[in-house]
């Protein structure tokens, strides 16, 4: 068992108030423990946690580029293996680094089956460069490259299903988690780092700045995403779904209304057909993962 009282992601970072990814980092390291090497990608977390000569990381940490964490981790793992070292190799990367530009390296590392855990903190856009859409941005979210406008309802594509893609690569363990459920998150991280082979965890990490909500509401927003079914916490082992968190689902409206990135769906008047499309995404999730609690 890992000592959960250790603060391995310590004070001194410069994240915004209520930053979901900063909380994710803290919880991830409580799941991995000290014997861990973290590989980062360029993005908010890298920038807010390591302004030279300071660092918030109390475990060995390395950042190379935006898109190559999985390949760097492959090399670290090979070196450790050669020297019979036992540290866990854990990538902690943004959704842009993961869903988009990093896919080549991730696909390669997973196909080769390196003993690494790749964790994506999913704040659903490129935040470091000013809130641009990524393959993880949800349908209709307004970002600076998918702005809502006279002829646009925001991001025109649904979220890419990366967990399924990596499960199809033969990942031994794939899970989703949320910063709003810390015990579950830490448990999944601990499980992943102790599972041999390439494992993937995607963590829902609300971003107060990018999504447009008060910094004190991060956990509340995170919970709302699960309660409406737009985010599902589940686990897959060897490509099979083994567990999904059940909920008494509520309509998506409240979750959308709570964030500025969806404001255009309600102002000046509710765009009912678009909200219905988002509701359909939540309904499809509920069916796919069987999360509805029967009343």
């Amino acid at each position: 068992m890992v000592d959960k009282s250790l603060e391995l992601f310590d004070c001194g970072h410069r994240a915004c108030g209520g930053c979901g990814p900063a909380l994710a980092a803290k919880l991830i390291l409580k799941g991995t423990g000290e014997d861990t090497i973290v590989v980062a990608s360029t993005g908010c977390m890298e920038v807010f946690s390591t302004p030279y000569p300071e660092t918030a990381w109390k475990v060995p940490w390395i950042h190379s580029l935006f898109e190559n964490a999985a390949a760097v981790a492959s090399g670290i793992e090979a070196s450790l293996k050669h020297n019979n070292r036992t540290e866990k190799v854990v990538c902690v990367c943004g959704d842009g680094a993961t869903f988009d530009i990093g896919m080549l390296c991730i696909s390669g590392a997973f196909e080769r089956g390196h003993d690494i855990t790749y964790i994506c903190y999913d704040n659903e856009a490129y935040m470091n460069t000013g809130i641009q859409r990524s393959g993880a941005t949800p349908y209709d979210a307004s970002t600076t490259t998918s702005p809502a406008g006279k002829y646009s309802m925001g991001n025109s594509r649904p979220k890419k299903d990366l967990p399924q893609i990596l499960a199809a690569h033969g990942a031994t363990y794939v899970a989703t988690a949320s910063v709003a459920y810390p015990m579950d998150l830490m448990k999944k991280v601990e499980k992943a780092v102790n599972t041999p082979g390439a494992c993937y965890i995607q963590i829902h990490a609300p971003c107060s700045t990018g999504w447009g909500f008060e910094g004190g509401k991060t956990i509340e927003i995170g919970k709302m995403a699960l309660e409406c079914g737009l985010w599902v916490n589940y686990e897959m082992e060897n490509g099979r779904l083994v567990k999904a968190k059940k909920v008494k689902r509520v309509p998506v409206d409240a979750y959308l209304k709570a964030q500025k990135r969806f404001r255009h769906l309600f102002k000046p008047a509710p765009v009912t057909d678009e909200i219905a499309k988002i509701q359909a995404i939540a309904d499809a999730n509920a069916e796919k993962y069987g999360i509805d609690i029967e009343l």
């Binding site: 390591t50 090399g75 670290i76 540290e87």
Partner: protein, 386 residues
């Protein structure tokens, strides 16, 4: 003991003797034979290393960076498009001061696609912070691998390096080559001792981001290390000479330069042809000589200035092009700068791109052009296809 070996296989042998712990590379002509041979060595247990079979050159060098950061001696090899795909990582490795050695079997860049030799690929990355060595023949390019590791890993250097050799012309040529024994190389090149590394017992952060308060000084430190690299390479080359009888303490090699009026400057296998052409020119009473550059980065400015001091004219043979630049090649301006204020005429000749043959008569023609003051040009253009 001399053995007849293909250039690529001689390189693979040298790499094996250097005992890398991790090898990661991706096949590309004309580099392929090196990685194939290394994979065989690992498969047969002749090389105790992890061989990471990556999906691209981009990941190959990224994986090498990770292994190096974790404290291992690592190796990669590539050519042309492969090096371009790595480019972002190439700069990053230097910035992170990882002493990775990579062989470059030089090949032209697309478009149009060409698998044949010129030196555009490695010379394009001259500003990346990797030192660059160029070999003339199989023996020299093989030996340069030992020297490269020895210099790169010094704690007052910690820079990555390219060992470059002309694709096909050297990589696929069979030549007699003397390969040292493992005992000899173990005595020459001790186990790599990292300056710092990723280690849970002593956690550090690597590759952080730097504000304008710090970035400038980081680049300065890399440049300083590159200066010290000149000494490190020279010392490693001298020690190699003392142990193996082949001395590489000099960054350049002078050929018939004592009384030369006209001097050529060149890199790599072309130097063999130039030496033969010089012998013929000398027989005809033309006092020609050659300065062969072994170390292009760090650029041996003072050595070159000294070697060229007595000549009237310098013709730089460029198997590369710096498109849009005044001199057209990447080597010429450096030579010109080394000779600044001496009044010696320096001209560049872009020649032999994409595998075009360079013959002795071309060398002679270039000498004539240089003496007439015609230079900084493409040599040997086929007017009928323009």
């Amino acid at each position: 003991m001399l053995q007849i070996m293909e250039g690529s296989h001689a390189v693979a042998e040298a790499v094996r003797l250097c005992r890398p712990e991790v090898v990661s590379a991706y096949p590309i002509t004309p580099q392929t034979h090196i990685v194939e041979r290394l994979a065989e060595m690992v498969a047969d247990g002749d090389l105790d290393a992890e061989y990471i079979c990556v999906e691209s050159e981009f990941s190959a060098l990224s994986a090498c960076l990770g292994s190096s950061a974790a404290g291992s001696r690592v190796y990669s090899a590539t050519s042309s498009q492969g090096l371009m795909l790595m480019a972002e990582v190439v700069f990053n490795v230097a910035g992170m001061r990882q002493p990775i050695i990579m062989s470059i079997a030089n090949r032209a860049l697309g478009a149009p696609l060409s698998i044949w030799n010129d030196q555009q690929d490695s010379l394009s990355l001259r500003d990346s912070g990797w030192f660059q060595l160029y070999g003339e023949d199989v023996q020299e390019m093989t030996d340069q691998h030992f020297i490269a590791y020895k210099a790169a890993e010094r704690h007052d250097v910690l820079l990555p390096g390219f060992v470059c050799f002309d694709g096909f012309i050297l990589s696929h040529t069979y030549e007699p080559v003397d390969i040292p024994t493992q005992e000899e190389i173990d005595a020459y090149l001790p186990k790599y001792v990292p300056y710092n590394m990723l280690d849970a017992k002593n956690p550090i952060s690597m590759g952080m981001y730097a504000t304008p308060e710090y970035y400038h000084e980081f680049r300065y430190e890399i440049d300083r290390a590159m200066d010290r690299c000149a000494t490190a390479l020279s010392e490693a080359g001298k020690e190699f000479g003392e142990m193996f009888g082949r001395d590489y303490s000099e960054h350049i090699e002078s050929y018939r330069m004592d009384d030369a009026d006209i001097a050529f400057v060149a890199l790599g296998s072309l130097c063999g042809t130039v030496k033969d052409a010089i012998d013929e020119m000398r027989a005809d009473g033309i006092k020609a000589g050659l300065v062969k550059i072994r170390t292009y980065r760090p650029f041996p400015k003072n050595d070159i200035a000294k070697a060229l001091a007595g000549v009237a004219t310098v013709a730089v043979l460029e198997k590369n092009i710096s498109i849009g630049s005044a001199m057209k090649g990447a080597v010429g301006p450096e030579v010109l700068h080394a000779l600044n204020g001496t009044g010696i005429s320096v001209y560049s000749y872009v020649t032999g791109l994409g595998g075009r043959d360079i013959r002795k008569k071309d060398i002679r023609n270039i000498a004539e052009l240089a003496v007439k003051g015609e230079g900084d040009m493409f040599y040997g253009l086929r007017e009928e296809v323009l």
